[in-house]
Structure formats: structure tokens, C-alpha cells
């Protein structure tokens, strides 16, 4: 990887990792040589704790972007393995091919049948190349829609995990209708007759994320991000300076807390200090708990009410003003030839 210019948050992360290694070495030495290293270890532990505090108590939006991109963050397959039982993966859009960047599965949550889908990111380069880094082609989104229709037919809830830098930007994806596939999913999810729960777990990259992220409840992990464009892309386009990505990360209001304030995210799921990759079990616990509560609440909602509420949820997102006429909604201005 090339060095991005300003990454102090990541640098602190690096320092912390070195400290933790050193502490580990001292523990080993103390054990192997029966030496007492307690004071030394205690001092280092204290320094490490300070560092953790410093980094994580108030992470900047740019630092949160780094956390969201952390390679060891829990991925869809981890959630599948830890939160669901009786998992059966299903494949293909029935039109072109099976897209490994988007996984669809049948499974049980708390013993109840659900349909699970999501961006299928890997943990290492090999996995990621095989799964196109979780960046779907149109056939991935069409596979997702097929799985959702299946859920609708049997009245099962849909649980969707969002974690992608975006839809695959390639010539073949364009030729096969990337835009149409995303638009279709967004429209159909807005009126699918099954409860839909969305969890943004890592990166929520623009239309490629939204294509599986329209739902009755949108939950978001504390250090996930959700954005209309990457901070780097935003800085390059608006300010012609990709190195201002840090500023763009702050300006775009892409963190879970920001999005909760804007009425886009319904609940922020807290992560362990320092990010989910430090304690995956803790992440599974908050996601399981969040899904359980929202599923329970949604099961009790009649279908028509569910769809009306879902429509209203998206209907009210946005900030507009009437600049000239005093009239409000429904006001009509005559044409003035």
C-alpha cells in the first residue's frame, strides 16, 4: 500500500499495536524465565490504555472511516456463522450467473426462518479477489431481489447486511444494467410485503449499498460509515485534491451518529472500544440483540401498516424550504407566460 499523507489516527493505531506486542513479549519472558516484570508491564499497560482512550474515545470521522475499512472487521460470513442456524446458501439470479460478491441464504434466527443477504467481503486478498471485494455486478443485485421475493412468498423477514465500497464500476456491469438493477431493487424493497431489517456493518458505499438497504429498520454499527461518495472521491471532485479526504469525511456526515441525527439510521449499535475487530464476539452480541428486538417489534405490525410506515420513513428524509411563496405543501403557482 502506498502511504496516504495524513493518517495520525492510523499511526496511533500502529503505536498501540506495537505496545501490545511488547506487553505480550514481557509476559512470555516473565513466564519462561520466572522473572518478575510486573512493574514494567503495568507501566506499559497504563500507557496502552491511555493511547486507546486517546484514539477511541473521540474518533474523528476520518478515523472512523479507517475503522470501517479495517481488514479484520467481522464480515457477512462471520455474522452468518454466529447469529443464524440451519444456514443454506442459495445461488444465482436465474438470468446470467451467480455473483459471489453478494451472498444470499436461508437461515434461522432465534429458530424462526429468515432470508439473509449481504455484500460478501473477504478477510484477505485471496478471498476478496474471489468475491470481487464485495462489489456486486447487476446479477448480484438481481440475485438479492430473487431471494427477497422468496422471503415475500413465504412471509419470512429479510435481513440484509451492508458492507461495500460500491457497486462494481466496470464495462460489463454497465452493459448488463447496473443502474436498472439498483433502481429496481430500491423500488421493490420499498414495497416488499415482508419485514426488512438492514444492518450497515462496514462501508455503506452509495447506490451499491442502498440497493440492498431499504428497509423497515436500518441499524448501523458505531464505526461503520454510510456515504453518497467516498471521502477521497468527494475531495477529488469538489476540491480537486484527494489528500483532503479527511476534510471530506467530516463534511459528508457519514458516521452512524451523524446519520441517526439526520433521521436516516434508526439505531446505532455500540462497538467495543477501538473497533469491532478487537472483539468480534461483542459485535455479534449487539447485532443479535438489535436484530432480535426489531424483528420482534416488526412481527406484530400488520402488512399494510408496515408498508405505509416504510414509505413514510423514506418520504420524510431531506431538508427543503420554500424560498418565495408563503404557501406550504400543495401550493400551486400559476404559470406566468
Amino acid at each position: 500500500m502506498t502511504q496516504r499523507p495524513p493518517r495520525p489516527a492510523a499511526d496511533l493505531d500502529h503505536q498501540l499495536a506495537e505496545l501490545e506486542q511488547e506487553i505480550g513479549r514481557l509476559h512470555v519472558r516473565a513466564r519462561d524465565h520466572s522473572e518478575s516484570r510486573e512493574t514494567e508491564i503495568a507501566a506499559l499497560e497504563q500507557r496502552a490504555a491511555q493511547l486507546r482512550e486517546e484514539i477511541y474515545r473521540n474518533p474523528s470521522p476520518w478515523h472512523i472511516v479507517q475503522l470501517a475499512r479495517q481488514a479484520q472487521r467481522p464480515r457477512l460470513v462471520d455474522f452468518l456463522g454466529s447469529l443464524f442456524t440451519d444456514v443454506i446458501e442459495i445461488h444465482g439470479d436465474r438470468l446470467f450467473r451467480d455473483d459471489p460478491a453478494l451472498l444470499t441464504a436461508l437461515g434461522r434466527f432465534d429458530g424462526q426462518p429468515v432470508v439473509v443477504l449481504g455484500h460478501n467481503r473477504g478477510k484477505d486478498t485471496k478471498e476478496n479477489i474471489a468475491r470481487n471485494f464485495g462489489m456486486p455486478y447487476p446479477e448480484g443485485y438481481r440475485k438479492a431481489l430473487r431471494a427477497m421475493r422468496l422471503a415475500e412468498k413465504f412471509g419470512y423477514p429479510v435481513i440484509s447486511f451492508v458492507d461495500t465500497t460500491g457497486a462494481h464500476p466496470g464495462d460489463q456491469a454497465e452493459e448488463r444494467g447496473q443502474a436498472e438493477a439498483i433502481a429496481r431493487n430500491i423500488q421493490e424493497m420499498s414495497r416488499l410485503k415482508s419485514p426488512i431489517l438492514v444492518v450497515v456493518t462496514g462501508e455503506g458505499g452509495s447506490g451499491g449499498a442502498l440497493a440492498i438497504a431499504v428497509g423497515d429498520a436500518v441499524l448501523m454499527l458505531q464505526y461503520a460509515v454510510y456515504t453518497v461518495i467516498s471521502p477521497e472521491g468527494c475531495a477529488a471532485i469538489l476540491w480537486h485534491d484527494a489528500s483532503r479526504a479527511r476534510d471530506a469525511a467530516a463534511a459528508l456526515k457519514l458516521t452512524a451518529r451523524d446519520l441517526q441525527d439526520l433521521g436516516i439510521v434508526d439505531e446505532v449499535l455500540p462497538e467495543p472500544l477501538g473497533g469491532g475487530h478487537r472483539d468480534a464476539e461483542a459485535v455479534y452480541r449487539v447485532v443479535r440483540d438489535g436484530l432480535g428486538r426489531h424483528l420482534q417489534a416488526l412481527r406484530e405490525v400488520p402488512r399494510e401498516v408496515l408498508l405505509d410506515r416504510r414509505y413514510a420513513k423514506y418520504r420524510r428524509i431531506g431538508r427543503v424550504v420554500e424560498t418565495l411563496a408563503a404557501g406550504g405543501d400543495g401550493d400551486r403557482a400559476e404559470a406566468r407566460p
Binding site: 447496473q178 443502474a179 433502481a183 423500488q187 453518497v228 461518495i229 457519514l254 431531506g318 411563496a325 406566468r336
Partner: protein, 291 residues
């Protein structure tokens, strides 16, 4: 152009980016075209057929029957909800330049005597980008079509979501698409016309959800940008990539229709889908047929 639609509200408007001389150089064939001739030809180059970009006002003028337009939400505009660096100034500049409050005009009017709700995006207003206001106006227009049992025609021309409003812009894809979904459920026709350029978030929402999708010749239509795609696949793309003709050949749209034929084509489609004539066919011939 006919100039019957309302005059701009926000100061003076330069009608076009081209020099206001008597002759214009065609950006495609480089021929010098007499300005009057170009205007008579609906801003289509008579030598090579290049379709110049139109403002939303111009689009409505050449599409709707004269004097039949009732605008919706003319004063509705985006705020600067995120306090985004430079956004306020850009909005002000766009209003000054176009005379419009936002990047879309919505309302209802008649095409060949058939009433329809219509929206036209304006690429000259911040690249026709969709923020809260564009999303809200498209959504309200769509809801009015449902309430009034009218068809919907949208002319798209947009670079995509307006990044200065962050995820609020992205959510307009969901809001508009949900509204279009209700229009489909209501059994009302939606004709989507893609003009140059229609890219990004607008393609990934209402523009690709039409019952019938039309496009102007040569219009750029696509989700991802050419440069990003070239970086991904590490080779040059062919010149015709993401053009209207390319999309037609790949099965993504229904038809490519020249500007001269667009109004008549929309009228035929509206008639086919059962939109009733509410007014007699206009006495003056369609603009395309004017001398």
C-alpha cells in the same frame, strides 16, 4: 424557441453557455451554424444532428402545449443541511445562472391535448444533481399524478446525487423510487426520457423505472463514470460506450427518439396508455413542425 413559459425569477439569465453571436460552432461537427437556424431546429445541429443540451424551461416549451402549464413547488429549494463547504455559494450561483430555484421544474400540462404530470431536470443547475429538493419535487409530482390519476413524464438530465447533501441525497433515490413504485401500483403510465447526460444516482432510481424508457440521440447514459470504469478495467472504452444507442442495443432502453419526433412520440404513447384528451388538439402545429 417559443419562450412562452414563465420568465426567470432569479435575475438575468444567459440563455446558453455558447457565445451569443449570430453563428455558433457545432461542438461535434465544427460547422458554423446560423443561430436562428439552430433555434428553429430545436437546438439540433442541422449538419450532423448533434442535440444541444436544453434548459428545463426550453424542454417544457418544446414539449407541452402552449399556456397549459401549471407549475408545482416553484419556490422549493434545498437548504445547506450539512453546512457543507462552498455549497451555499454554489446554490446561489446556480440560481443566478439559471433563474431557477432548483435543478428540476415540475408541474402539469398537456401534450397534444392530453394532460400529464411532467418534470424536467436542468443540467445547467449544478449538473442537474439530485439533493433533497429535487427528490422532494419529483416525489410530490409523482404523488400528485397518483392523486389526480394522471400519467407521468420525466425528462432526466443529471450527473447524479448531489454530494454536498451527503446521505440525504442518496436517500432521495429511495424516496423517489418508492413514489414511482406507488404510481406503478396505481396502474398509471410513466414515460422516462433520458437526455444528455443521465448518470449516477438518477439512473439508479426514477430514470430507469419508466414503463417506457426513451432517450435522445447521443445522450450519455450510465451509472459509473467513464474514467472510473477505465481505471477498473485498465483499458480504453469505445467511443459509443454508454450512449443512448449503446443502451438501446444492450436492451436497457426502449427507443432512441430525435428531438423533432419526441413530442409526437410521447403523445402517441400517452394516447396508447389511455390518457384522455382534456383539451382539443392545439391549433398551432407541434413546435417540431414549425417552419
Amino acid at each position: 424557441m417559443l419562450n412562452w413559459l414563465r420568465r426567470p425569477k432569479y435575475g438575468t439569465v444567459e440563455r446558453r453557455e455558447m457565445p451569443a453571436g449570430i453563428w455558433d460552432k457545432c461542438p461535434r461537427c465544427r460547422n458554423l451554424i446560423y443561430r436562428k437556424e439552430l433555434e428553429r431546429n430545436l437546438m439540433v445541429c442541422p449538419k450532423c444532428g448533434y442535440h444541444h443540451r436544453l434548459s428545463a424551461v426550453e424542454r417544457l416549451e418544446i414539449t407541452l402545449d402552449q399556456q397549459a402549464f401549471q407549475e408545482y413547488d416553484a419556490s422549493l429549494t434545498s437548504t445547506d443541511p450539512l453546512g457543507f463547504e462552498g455549497y451555499g455559494a454554489k446554490l446561489a450561483e446556480a440560481r443566478e445562472k439559471t433563474g431557477q430555484a432548483e435543478a428540476v421544474i415540475t408541474g402539469d400540462g398537456t401534450i397534444d391535448g392530453r394532460r400529464t404530470v411532467v418534470a424536467a431536470l436542468d443540467f445547467h443547475f449544478m449538473g442537474g444533481s439530485m439533493g433533497s429538493a429535487v427528490g422532494e419535487k419529483i416525489t410530490r409530482a409523482t404523488e400528485r399524478a397518483v392523486e389526480s390519476r394522471l400519467p407521468l413524464v420525466i425528462f432526466s438530465a443529471s450527473g447524479g446525487a448531489r454530494m454536498q447533501e451527503g446521505v440525504l441525497s442518496l436517500m432521495q433515490l429511495a424516496k423517489t423510487s418508492a413514489a414511482i413504485g406507488r404510481l406503478h401500483e396505481a396502474g398509471l403510465p410513466y414515460l422516462s426520457v433520458m437526455c444528455d447526460p443521465t448518470t449516477g444516482g438518477v439512473t439508479a432510481s426514477f430514470a430507469f423505472l419508466g414503463d417506457i424508457i426513451l432517450a435522445e440521440p447521443g445522450a450519455l447514459i450510465g451509472f459509473a463514470g467513464r474514467r472510473v470504469i477505465e481505471q477498473t478495467i485498465r483499458r480504453k472504452l469505445p467511443d459509443d460506450f454508454q450512449t443512448a444507442e449503446f443502451c438501446l442495443q444492450r436492451g436497457l432502453i426502449d427507443m432512441v427518439v430525435s428531438r423533432a419526433e419526441m413530442r409526437a412520440t410521447l403523445a402517441r404513447l400517452l394516447a396508447f396508455f389511455g390518457a384522455p384528451r382534456v383539451a382539443p388538439a392545439p391549433e398551432e402545429p407541434a413546435p417540431a413542425a414549425q417552419p
